[in-house]
């Protein structure tokens, strides 16, 4: 990682011509099983997203669909660097985070198919992947809106640890955002709050160089030195190579452990690239094929695969088997989603209020915040009553 907090560090222009030729640091190896696990996860995301694109063409998926191809190392490396009890939140390009966090391909795919088997019963859609059991607090569709939420997650974790349990702050939250979200007021206000109140939220800008068709330098001042965006709030900033899962894991582990220990926020300029268009309708005319090829040559999956092959942690046969397994898993998710019923008409009215329908406990019993006595809700007023003529007394 390059600490960006030192503002006298040389400016680095956003590297539109790919990371392949960049000088690389070397990182410590990780256990074989861990590395193979990452490879499988990254490949699962890649395959999954490929199938999403196809299913979108097949009109099984509606609305907006933003695939994560090219950025797999970021979600996989970041989630590996923290505990599952550390809450995370992200934007609408969220399938990768969901799968990396442990959501089943079935629940994720069925959500996009708009089926009852989806993580949000088909009511959220592609941009809104939520997974309570895995502490994924959603994908969010409004650019920047999830950043204050992420700060709130870290605030709550710290509050629970310190105020309710009387112990020490033990968790960090990860808030992911795209580079385009840097220019929303929500980013600014959230960063200042985190810096001011010592909130251990790690704000990760997945800097893929573009917000839709806009190159970062056309939308964001100081795009070549994003560290100033953290420095403005006294928050330590780091640059991380998001095309290399080993780099992501090691750097993020150190950053997150520092945040955990000091109970301070951090800001990460995570350099990466989306290989596909912004969404399904984007012909990518705003960038050259040459630029894309440079970045494709830096494919995080290929790179890890070759690395593991070269270290004999992986064999060609094992890889083939992995490919086969992952493809089967993704195919299964499609078949399962096809078979999953659409949500019933009652679902239309459900989940508007807690008191009326109760929280969803379909797939997993959520861990509630501990420490607080279990306060019984005030006797519920059925809102349906309020809608029909009642009695005065």
């Amino acid at each position: 990682m390059t600490s960006l907090s030192d503002p006298s560090a040389p400016a680095r222009p956003f590297d539109v011509h790919g990371g392949a030729d960049r000088p690389r640091k070397t990182y410590p190896e990780v256990a074989a099983a861990t590395a193979l696990g990452w490879l499988r996860q990254m490949y699962l995301i890649r395959e999954f997203e490929t199938r999403c694109m196809q299913s979108y063409q097949d009109k099984k998926i509606g609305g907006f669909c933003h695939v994560y191809i090219g950025q797999e190392a970021v979600a996989v490396g970041c989630t590996a660097a923290v505990e599952r009890s550390d809450p995370i939140v992200t934007a609408y390009r969220d399938h990768g985070h969901a799968l990396a966090r442990g959501m089943s391909a079935r629940a994720c795919m069925a959500e996009m198919f708009g089926r009852i088997g989806g993580c949000a019963k088909g009511k959220g859609g592609s941009m809104h992947m939520f997974d309570r059991a895995n502490n994924l607090f959603g994908g969010h569709g409004i650019v920047g809106a999830q950043i204050p939420l992420g700060v709130g997650l870290a605030f709550a974790a710290k509050y629970e640890d310190e105020v309710i349990k009387g112990g020490r702050s033990s968790r960090v939250a990860l808030a992911f955002l795209g580079d385009g979200a840097l220019n929303q007021g929500a980013f600014h206000e959230a960063m200042n709050l985190a810096g001011l109140l010592d909130i251990p939220c790690v704000v990760i800008c997945e800097n893929n160089g573009y917000s839709m068709g806009t190159h970062i330098a056309r939308g964001t001042t100081m795009a070549h030195r994003l560290g100033v965006k953290g420095a403005a709030y006294g928050i330590d900033s780091y640059e991380v190579d998001g095309m290399d899962v080993l780099a992501v894991y090691h750097e993020m582990h150190e950053i997150c452990e520092t945040a955990r220990r000091t109970s301070r926020p951090a800001f990460v300029d995570m350099r990466c690239y989306r290989f596909k268009g912004h969404s399904m309708s984007d012909p990518r005319k705003y960038r050259g094929r040459e630029e894309e090829e440079h970045w494709e040559a830096d494919d995080p999956i290929q790179k890890l695969r070759e690395h593991l092959l070269s270290r004999a942690v992986l064999t060609e046969d094992a890889w083939k088997q992995m490919v086969k397994d992952v493809r089967a898993e993704v195919r299964d998710s499609v078949e399962w989603s096809d078979a999953s019923p659409a949500p019933s008409s009652e679902e239309l009215m459900r989940d508007v209020f807690m008191e009326r329908w109760g929280p969803y406990t379909g797939s997993s019993q959520p861990e509630m915040l501990g420490g607080a006595e279990n306060v019984p809700s005030f006797e519920a007023i059925d809102p349906s009553k309020a809608r029909t003529p009642g009695e005065l007394a």
Binding site: P87, V89, G118, C119, K121, K123, G124, H128, F130, R132, F137, G138, I142, A145, P148, L149, G150, V151, G152, L153, F155, A156, A157, Y159, E160, V163, I164, G185, A186, H188, E189, A190, N192, L193, L196, L197, D351, V352, F353, M354, E355, W357, G358, P359, Y360, M368, A372, V375, S377, F378, I381, P383, K385, A386, R387, P389, G390, E391, L392, A393
Partner: protein
């Protein structure tokens, strides 16, 4: 099966003790904070300054800076932060110094809080209370006099509370804090100093049940929040003309106690809605539309409506008085509705 209590100053249903509206809100917050460590308060000047309007006076001393939290002037940021905390299971109370300043936070409070449960398929609720001054203060001008219920009540997934008495302020605030859903709690700077009998200890007033502020036979006045008092004033004046007004204080407009309105209007056959928000697409227009639907064959005249005038809020005191609903305009509407104009 809903019940409506008559609480007039003569019959201290709230007990003998009289406290201010602001104290009633504070008492509810403090009692709930003692009861449940997940509850905390944040907002501008709520801690060291004891609240811009002294609603949170003394709370920093009792609960300390971890639970009574001063924020920078970042409504969107701290509203969003509180929503994140609520998703984790905490129960934040967010003070907007004025609801007029909530427009910069419209996205988190309208796009996140009320939709989180639905978008997540029931996984993440949002037990949070947003509260602060609403409606015209005294000559605060165009940007500081919002009646946000005119805007926000269109949105499903929130409960909107507008208390008119200190007793209800405490009872509804307690209910709001214990509620598992997002609640918008709308106070009035003009009423914070109003005194009333307020029960000590636990006091809960359910949502969706109107209060019978005055009973009468000739016409039903439907209102909520500060204009309830203008209705009572008008009812006094009209009584002298031989017109007997029933005044309903709705207390919450989401949910709305349609039953109580309908039962009253079926009896009186006439209805005036008094709503301090602008008229177009307001809670007042909704009430009118509902009453026409439910009481179509009972009504002797269409539902008359009294609102703030459809212009930005003027500063000059004479214009502001003309702009706001007031007893004179309510009396005129009642007479017109009863064909006595």
């Amino acid at each position: 099966m809903s019940t409506m209590m008559s609480t007039s100053p003569e019959s201290p249903a709230g007990g003998l003790r009289e406290i201010e509206f602001r104290d009633a809100i504070r008492e509810a917050m403090s009692q709930e904070m003692r009861r449940d460590p997940r509850v905390f308060l944040l907002g501008e000047e709520v801690a060291q300054y004891n609240g811009a309007y002294k609603v949170s006076r003394g709370m920093l001393d009792e609960f300390g800076p971890r639970r009574i939290i001063d924020t920078p002037i970042s409504e969107s940021g701290f509203a969003g932060m509180a929503i994140g905390a609520a998703m984790m299971g905490l129960r934040p109370i967010v003070e907007f110094m004025s609801w007029s300043f909530s427009l910069v936070a419209a996205d988190p409070i309208l796009n996140n809080a009320p939709k989180m449960l639905y978008m997540s398929g029931g996984q993440f609720g949002c037990p949070i209370v947003f509260r602060g001054n609403n409606g015209a203060g005294g000559q605060l001008g165009s940007t500081h006099s919002w009646c946000v219920e005119g805007l926000y009540s269109n949105v499903p997934g929130v409960k909107i509370v507008i208390p008119a008495t200190p007793e209800d302020a405490k009872g509804l605030m307690t209910t709001a804090i214990r509620d598992d859903d997002p609640v918008f709690f709308l106070e009035s700077e003009r009423m914070l100093g109003m005194k009333g009998h307020v029960p000590e200890g636990d006091h809960l007033v359910p949502f969706g049940q109107a209060r019978l502020a005055r009973s009468g036979d000739d016409i039903t006045l439907v209102s909520f929040g500060r204009p309830v008092h203008f209705c009572l004033e008008a009812a006094d004046a009209l009584a002298k003309e031989g017109i007997s007004c029933e005044v309903l204080d709705m207390r919450t407009i989401r949910p709305l106690d349609v039953g109580s309105i309908v039962r009253s209007v079926r009896r009186t056959s006439a209805c005036v809605v008094v709503d301090q928000s602008w008229s177009f697409a307001s809670p007042g227009s909704e009430v009118a539309s509902i009453v026409h639907r439910e009481c179509f064959d009972d009504l002797d005249n269409y539902v008359h409506r009294v609102h703030s005038v459809d212009v930005p809020t003027p500063y000059a005191t004479n214009l502001e008085q003309e702009y706001l609903p007031n007893a004179r305009r309510i009396c005129e509407a009642v007479r017109a509705c009863l064909y006595r104009a």
